[in-house]
Symmetry: C2
């Protein structure tokens, strides 16, 4: 019984990984580097992208949401190509993007016109970390308002990323957020991982995130 269950789970993961590799092959063939951008709901992924995308060249966005196109609409006014995936055909809505959902969107992506694709995942700190979608690198945004315990409470998410963007640092004076404890927890689950302190609202640190994306696009950042 137990052995059968384990096999089923492995099959599900393998199917996703197989499709993720096919996606990555397609992206590679077009010379497109892909960032899987993850976070909890409301951590500020879209606001951060609004800040950095206008000054980036040849960049596109794939938006994952349960319903609607709120974030895609916010980004499309920046005159960059944005493609929306809604996960609600799943029962009640899927809480993450998987490789097959991204695969279904590939025909809509202008791969010949971009060097960098940012996949903005569904807001969730658990399942998105379990499903590769064909990305080269993974980045996550964590807001200081979420509390310093998050790396230890959601270790897979923090462990699986090449970059952790600590957002909304302008709010730190109004919070009890303990940055040292946050960074110590992060170090514990993902030793040596790069992190940036930013405020998408004030613009503090945003240049460093833009520079990181440029390094990914130019293939200077380490692939996953």
């Amino acid at each position: 019984m137990h052995r059968t269950k384990v096999r089923v789970v492995e099959d599900a993961l393998d199917a996703n990984n197989t499709i993720a590799r096919a996606n990555r092959d397609d992206f590679d063939r077009h010379g497109v580097r892909v960032v899987n951008l993850m976070s909890a709901p409301g951590a500020g992924k879209t606001t951060l992208l609004e800040q950095v995308l206008p000054e980036l060249q040849r960049v596109g966005v794939l938006e994952g949401d349960v319903q609607g196109s709120f974030d895609a609409d916010r980004l499309s006014v920046l005159h960059i190509p944005v493609t929306q995936i809604n996960t609600d055909p799943g029962f009640g809505g899927e809480c993450h993007l998987d490789a097959n959902m991204v695969r279904s969107a590939i025909p809509e992506l202008p791969l010949a016109d971009i060097d960098l694709l940012v996949v903005e995942n569904v807001g969730n700190l658990v399942c998105p970390a379990e499903f590769r979608v064909g990305e080269d690198v993974r980045a996550m945004v964590c807001s200081v308002t979420e509390g310093e315990d998050k790396p230890l409470k959601y270790p897979l998410m923090f462990r699986t990323c090449e970059l952790v963007v600590v957002n909304k640092v302008d709010l730190v004076p109004h919070l009890d957020f303990d940055l040292d404890r946050f960074l110590s927890g992060l170090q514990q689950v993902n030793p040596g991982v790069e992190h940036l302190l930013v405020s998408a609202k004030t613009g503090a640190g945003v240049d460093a995130f833009r520079a990181w994306l440029e390094r990914v696009a130019s293939r200077e950042a380490a692939p996953a």
Copy 2:
């Protein structure tokens, strides 16, 4: 093919609902009322419980987390019975509690000694809304730092609750949060739902949440 797939999904939901009803029967037999408390990660569920639980009588907590017992440890110092469920035996960690996980914890719960059980779900705005665990009522906490678009982006979660607690209102002066747009979106997905404006940090509005829990315990609040 398509029909078979639909059947599998219905079976999965039915199995959960069957177990949820069995849980509810057990809770009813002991005269225990159950609140399923949900939110995104870091919205402040535990801090809010720290504020309200010490003055409540005959209350227990069931803590759901992917890993660890950080929240359970915070609550257990309040000298109330706390039981921890970790969801990490699932592959990579389950992003929600389901009825069967709660069922497995029932033998550990002091049902004879409590009138109210608060189930603190895994931080996630998608899947927890899809799985009943045997609760009488559902409440969710949404932090103003998450942005006013959340009811329309995660409609099932907001639609499925009897109470929406808007937390961290002390931070509103430092944010661009538009409360009117939030409440208008909430009204759109769940017309007439009760909401409270609170700050678990300053204590503002916390009495109203405590009073709501007391009404649930005394069977004055409408069951789900």
